[in-house]
């Protein structure tokens, strides 16, 4: 920063609002739209037992690969199951991914990143480990892991955690190192605050913002990972429905039933779009400061 800073003359320059919470970003504009979209999908998944006209694995005889109709709003699949019901239940796998696997990966990564800043040797060891994981494309990791532990929801969760730990580890490490060097942290040290105080009062709150932004982004990536893995047959095992496996079925039967894929694909798009909008709104807000 140059010596001549952009400070206005000493008048009351109260600009903007007092909103201290990042969640305020979700109350208007992009954030609100994103929150609504995600909220709708989440609700649909949670209320699946109520909303779904059929059970997800109920095979209706003689109703294979039907086009959308009054009984089956999204048609049926190759063994006569209602696609709408399967889509609604399939959302649940993604909810699991978004609200359990991704936060778990983020938490583990962040803690590792924070701890790494304490000791130089630990930092180097961790950075190289992260580099190692990041060197593999996620799909390769997914394939390798599936070969070892077999397909399923837990495999998806593990791959997601593996993918997110280095990202959050790096982010946290950089944020912590940067904040630790700021003048206001030095001011706190000069006051006599100990490391614990500085961590709780200054470092963590100031690091939280970039992490929150990344979390929303990571959630959208999680949906993709699930989709891709299930699409490739590495994820959920049939007959469990998931958005990814439904899209796979839809593309496999696209010739006979072109509308099959529309439902689950739309849900995925809405979900990812919503998460991205939330992430952008949070990022824009943190840039404002």
């Amino acid at each position: 920063m140059s010596v001549v800073t952009e400070v206005t003359t000493d008048k009351d320059t109260a600009t903007g609002s007092d909103r201290t919470s990042s969640w305020a970003a979700l109350r208007s504009g992009r954030g609100l739209v994103g929150a609504v979209l995600v909220g709708l999908v989440v609700l649909a998944g949670l209320l699946a037992p109520i909303l779904a006209p059929f059970a997800p694995d109920q095979q209706i005889p003689g109703a294979a690969l039907q086009a959308p109709s009054g009984d089956h709003l999204l048609g049926t699949d190759s063994v006569g199951r209602d696609v709408l019901s399967r889509t609604l239940y399939g959302i649940r796998i993604d909810l699991l991914v978004i609200f359990l696997a991704v936060p778990a990966g983020a938490a583990i990564g962040s803690i590792l990143g924070l701890v790494a800043t304490r000791y130089h040797w630990l930092d180097t060891a961790m950075q190289r480990s992260f580099d190692l994981i990041l060197a593999f494309p996620t799909i390769i990791l997914a394939i390798a892991l599936t070969m070892v532990i077999g397909p399923g929801v837990w495999t998806i969760a593990t791959v997601i955690i593996l993918a997110e730990v280095p990202v959050f580890g790096r982010l946290t490490r950089t944020a912590v190192l940067t904040v630790r060097q700021s003048p206001y942290v030095e001011a706190a040290r000069a006051i006599g605050a100990d490391e614990g105080w500085i961590l709780r009062r200054h470092v963590l709150p100031n690091c939280l913002e970039p992490l929150t932004v990344q979390l929303a982004l990571a959630m959208s990536v999680g949906v993709f990972i699930e989709g891709a893995m299930s699409f490739l047959g590495l994820g959920v095992v049939p007959p469990t429905p998931s958005l990814g496996s439904l899209i796979k079925e839809g593309t496999q039967n696209a010739y006979h039933s072109p509308f099959f894929v529309v439902g689950p694909l739309t849900v995925v798009l809405v979900l990812v779009l919503g998460l991205l909008l939330i992430s952008q709104a949070l990022a824009a807000r943190s840039r404002q400061r």
Partner: protein, 547 residues
Amino acid sequence: MTALLTIRGLNIDFGGTRPAVDDISLDVDRGEVVALVGESGSGKSMTARAVLGLLPDSATATGSILLDGTELLGASERELDAVRGTKVSLIFQEPQSALNPVRRIGWQIREALRAHTRISKSEARARAIELLEQVEIPDPQRRVDYYPHQLSGGQKQRVAIALALAGEPDLLIADEPTTALDVTVQAEILTLLDRIRARTGMGILLITHNMGVVAQHADRVVVLRAGEIVETGSTHTVFDAPTHPYTRDLLAAVPRLPDHPEPVVVPDTAAKADTDVVLRFEDVSVTYPATRGNPAFRAVESVDLTVRRGEVLGLVGESGSGKTTLGRVAAGLVAATEGTVLIEGRDLSAIDARELRALRRDVAVVQQDPATSLDPRLTIGASIREPLDVHKIGSPAERRTRVAELLEAVRLPAAFADRLPHQLSGGQRQRVALARALALRPRLIIADEPTSALDVSVQAEVLELFAQIQSELGFACVFISHDLAVVHQVADRVMVLRAGRVVETGPVGEVFTAPRDPYTRALVEAVPDPDPSRRPLEVAGLEPAGV
């Protein structure tokens, strides 16, 4: 004869409530230096950029900018390219930003030359060396092959000037060219510009907020405020008889060094008992350990220092003098490698952690940059309260009361306690930093360049507040600054540092008016005097074109 640069009715708007530049008209003639003066946000940089067509896309500019009869405002990129570097050049505040760090100096000058003329490599090299000679860089044959990081700040700025001169422009726009440089280097660069002007007859539009620089180097002054011209005229007229109240206030706010020795006020604490001593350094040295790629650095060498109760000791010096390091040692942020540091008689290296923590309550710090010294996520009240929270003093209600008291002491409204730092101006934030420093009623305050980042008028307010509080509460203070005039205003005694060593110490009136050491003398003489009638004969002898 028409002026070299004629600006008429310039308006620059960003779509906000007020235009950034409002109806500005000014002239710059060949051979004259016109200073564009104003505080932050006055629109001076914007005006400079408009001349070169360097305004951001979001700006709309109307009016007229004539350079030697050619209209520049609204000209096409092609027309502007023909003019940039050949008829008008720009030098910036930060010399490092102007230079490409991965290219040698010679290459960069050559590129500047080849942008406008067809010239062979060997010719370009010869010309580059010639230009380096013109900007008085020693040993130009060798330096032409240097990289920017091998040069000092002052030398980098000289190279930036050489780049600007490569196309032999008629007009040079210098945007705060010396603000980032030490005061002695500043004096050299400005003298260099004067000499170049005398030799080439170039016109210079000098943008600055430093009234001393204006007084010593400008022929005419244009005073800007919030995008409008409030006063214009020859330097002598504007300084001796300012008509607009803003100009008058601006000039009054400039701290000045005294010209004749002042009667030294003998402090009435005749019995200088040792119990009076708040801070003492005995033969303190500080070495920063070697890191990867950097050798160990001896920041401070054998410094003795004493600060008594109620006394303000000024630490002055240029960059690398060690004054900031000394402040950090006193604040307990850096340990002295050698020597003894005594705070209130207690040796810092001999006490345990608990006592050290208790001692920290008696020493407070005010930092330089108000933009980063407050946690952006904490409210003002929480920041001011932090010392009380850390040391668990008083009940929550008592702490809140104390915060209100402190806000009042620094003349800020109590409602500010719930605001966030980004909602306050720089001067207000600096007052908050002061309030936070006072929270624990310290015996000693270390102020590290507390007003350097503030505008002149804001600085005057903060310094006045500081002086008043200091005399009321009677704390001792180590006031670190590169600005001698500011130190003269607030300090009782001053210590001059150079390259980590003490050069001279004494009462402030004595040291600045009758310095004993040649370095101190050089330092004092380098400070631009905000009195135009006191220009050195050598410069005054040059023909000022627009008197």
